[in-house]
């Protein structure tokens, strides 16, 4: 699936602000999709594109903060730029703890918003690339047999073929064959590459 152009989602219950933000972001040539409330965004299908979300922290119905929690629960990773009023410090703290990408106080300076949007999209693009790579790696590692996995663990642990063979109670030749399969299946170019990929996979599953 080919990646589309970046999209900026704007959710604000105030029509005038919504239109202003849409116009501002469109003016710099970015795609904008607007939503009048958080619920609408939740049920929308997100495109396969780097994106960010510009969200008023305070809205009737589902608030910005609640949407942040719901998205995170649903595993939707999208950088959120919160727009807060003055004196919304407790809310801002909560949003920050929830992993908000950026905070802008209302009324927002146009350039600040555009800067934040560009940064968020770049960030999301990297994240997406990262995620794609990771899922590629995961897919490749999934194809390993249990025996190959055992060999992989020991290789990554830094054992020599001889030591691995002893550990697994098999011949060094067999270990070499498994090891070759592991390198082919995972697409590792070198031992160092294999170690890096394995570490990345493990860190991500730890984080999960």
């Amino acid at each position: 699936m080919k990646e589309q152009d970046p999209v900026v989602f704007v959710i604000d219950d105030d029509r005038m602000i919504r239109d202003g933000l849409r116009s501002l972001i469109q003016a710099v040539g970015l795609r904008v999709e607007i939503f009048t409330c958080a619920q609408d965004f939740l049920i929308a299908t997100l495109p396969n594109a780097p994106a960010c979300l510009v969200l008023d922290i305070r809205m009737p119905g589902l608030s910005g903060l609640e949407l942040q929690v719901k998205l995170s629960d649903a595993g939707v990773q999208i950088p959120i730029i919160f727009i807060t009023g003055h004196g919304d410090i407790p809310m801002s703290v909560r949003a920050m703890k929830g992993g908000a990408h950026e905070f802008l106080t209302k009324p927002v300076r146009g350039q600040d918003l555009l800067d934040a949007v560009h940064k968020a999209i770049t960030h999301d693009r990297e994240l997406r690339k990262d995620r794609t790579e990771l899922s590629d790696i995961r897919a490749r590692f999934k194809s390993l047999t249990p025996r190959e996995n055992e060999v992989l663990d020991l290789v990554v642990a830094g054992l020599l073929n001889k030591q691995i063979a002893a550990e697994l109670g098999t011949s060094e030749l067999t270990v070499k064959t498994h090891r070759l399969h592991v390198m082919e299946k995972t697409g590792a170019e070198s031992l160092a590459h294999l170690v890096r990929m394995t570490e990345r996979l493990r860190t991500s599953s730890l984080l999960k």
């Binding site: 005038m16 116009s23 501002l24 003016a27 009737p60 727009i83 300076r109």
Partner: protein, 395 residues
């Protein structure tokens, strides 16, 4: 006051008057007798009548005596002497008797007239006195009424001022909400102005988009100034001014002011306003104050709850063909009967930071508009505040 009684002449004058009348009668009689030869004694009767009438009985008697002497001296032979022929005596005595009769009759009539006059005068005086008394009493009442009116006016001023202070207090509680209310249109202005600049800054400026953004910015500015004007009108010192107003409009404006307050506390405000309500005759700021008060109380009652819907419902409807009923229902903690009894007392509050004047002032405002304000609560699942206002059809 001028008296109408005939002046009682001093003795000298009344007797003098008798002399003058008798003298005139004498001259007239002499002249007539000289011309016609007949004795014209009865002319003296006229002198006696006039003397008695104007000089009272003393002068009458004196006139009778003078007349008698004049007749004896000038008319009974021998003339120019006080002697009299014995044959003339009965004639003379008859004359004197008639004169005496006349003087008695006239003086009796005169006395009656006098006493009537006196009674009349007395009555006049009494009437004058009573009139003066009544006038004094009237003045006292007028003064009292003026005093009363002054007190009422100063009470009205105090009440208006108190209501204003309460409004300012409410506004103080609503600061965050109002800041949001003002900030919102300003945010729209900023975003749209920036968008306008961005469209113009492109390699090929897009004038259509820039224009649309500029128009939205201008609209936002108008919006902000409207919010400020609304708040200003709540704060500034104004004497109540009644006009025909739409209560639904008042409710909507008030809800706009408190919307952010509600949303911060996660409270939903539901409006069920009956369309096409007749106008009410009232002061829009004061009525707004009542609505905001009830609304804020509703929100306050919900804040501490966690186990229920968080809604304040405001409803309006026309009823009985003469009044509009507005209700503010909250899903809060309710009011227990003990508190309910004291709810509308001044300075009664269940909040630590409350002044305790809100409901008391609200009630006096509604009553001044000819309506009623009351509350109902089952003590646990929220309460409903009602108020009525006479519709303009009924006024």
């Amino acid at each position: 006051m001028q008296s109408h009684s005939a002046p009682s002449l001093p003795l000298v004058y009344s007797y003098g008057l008798a002399v003058v009348f008798v003298a005139l009668a004498l001259l007239t009689s002499l002249a007539l007798e000289h011309s016609f030869g007949n004795p014209f004694w009865f002319i003296f009767s006229v002198a006696v009548i006039l003397s008695t009438w104007f000089g009272r009985s003393g002068a009458g008697w004196f006139a009778v005596v003078c007349s008698g002497l004049s007749v004896v001296y000038f008319f009974t032979p021998p003339l120019r002497s006080f002697a009299m022929k014995s044959s003339d005596i009965p004639y003379f005595l008859t004359f004197v008797g008639c004169e005496v009769g006349v003087t008695q009759l006239i003086s009796w009539r005169r006395r009656a007239e006098d006493s009537l006059q006196r009674a009349h005068d007395e009555l006049e005086v009494r009437v004058a006195e009573r009139t003066a008394e009544l006038k004094n009493a009237h003045n006292a009442i007028l003064q009292h009424m003026a005093e009363q009116k002054r007190i009422e006016e100063s009470l009205q001023v105090t009440r208006t001022e108190l209501a204003r202070v309460a409004r300012i207090t409410t506004i103080g509680e609503l600061t965050a909400s109002i800041a949001h209310e003002v900030n919102q249109p300003l945010a729209a202005v900023a975003a749209n102005a920036d968008a306008c600049v961005a469209w113009l800054s492109r390699a090929h400026p897009d004038l259509v988009e820039a224009r649309a953004a500029a128009e939205r910015a201008a609209q936002g500015a108008t919006g902000a100034s409207e919010v400020i004007a609304r708040i200003r009108s709540l704060i500034t010192k104004t004497t109540p001014e009644k006009s025909a107003i739409q209560i639904n409009q008042i409710i909507e404006q008030t809800v706009a002011l408190a919307a952010a307050q509600a949303s911060v506390n996660n409270v939903t405000i539901e409006l069920e306003l009956s369309p096409d309500l007749p106008h009410v005759f009232g002061d829009s700021i004061q009525l707004q104050q009542v609505v905001i008060n009830l609304l804020m109380n509703g929100i306050d009652a919900i804040i501490s709850t966690t186990d229920r819907l968080r809604t304040v419902a405001i409803r309006s409807k026309f009823q009985n063909g003469s009044q509009i009923l507005i209700s503010v229902q909250d899903s809060g903690i309710g009011v227990n009967p003990e508190v309910m009894n004291r709810l509308f007392e001044p300075f009664f509050t269940t909040r630590s930071n409350g002044m305790g004047m809100g409901l008391s002032i609200s009630r006096s405002i509604i009553e001044a508009h000819g309506g009623r304000l009351w509350a109902e609560s089952d003590g646990s699942t929220g309460s409903i505040f009602y108020f009525t206002l006479p519709s303009e059809l009924a006024v």
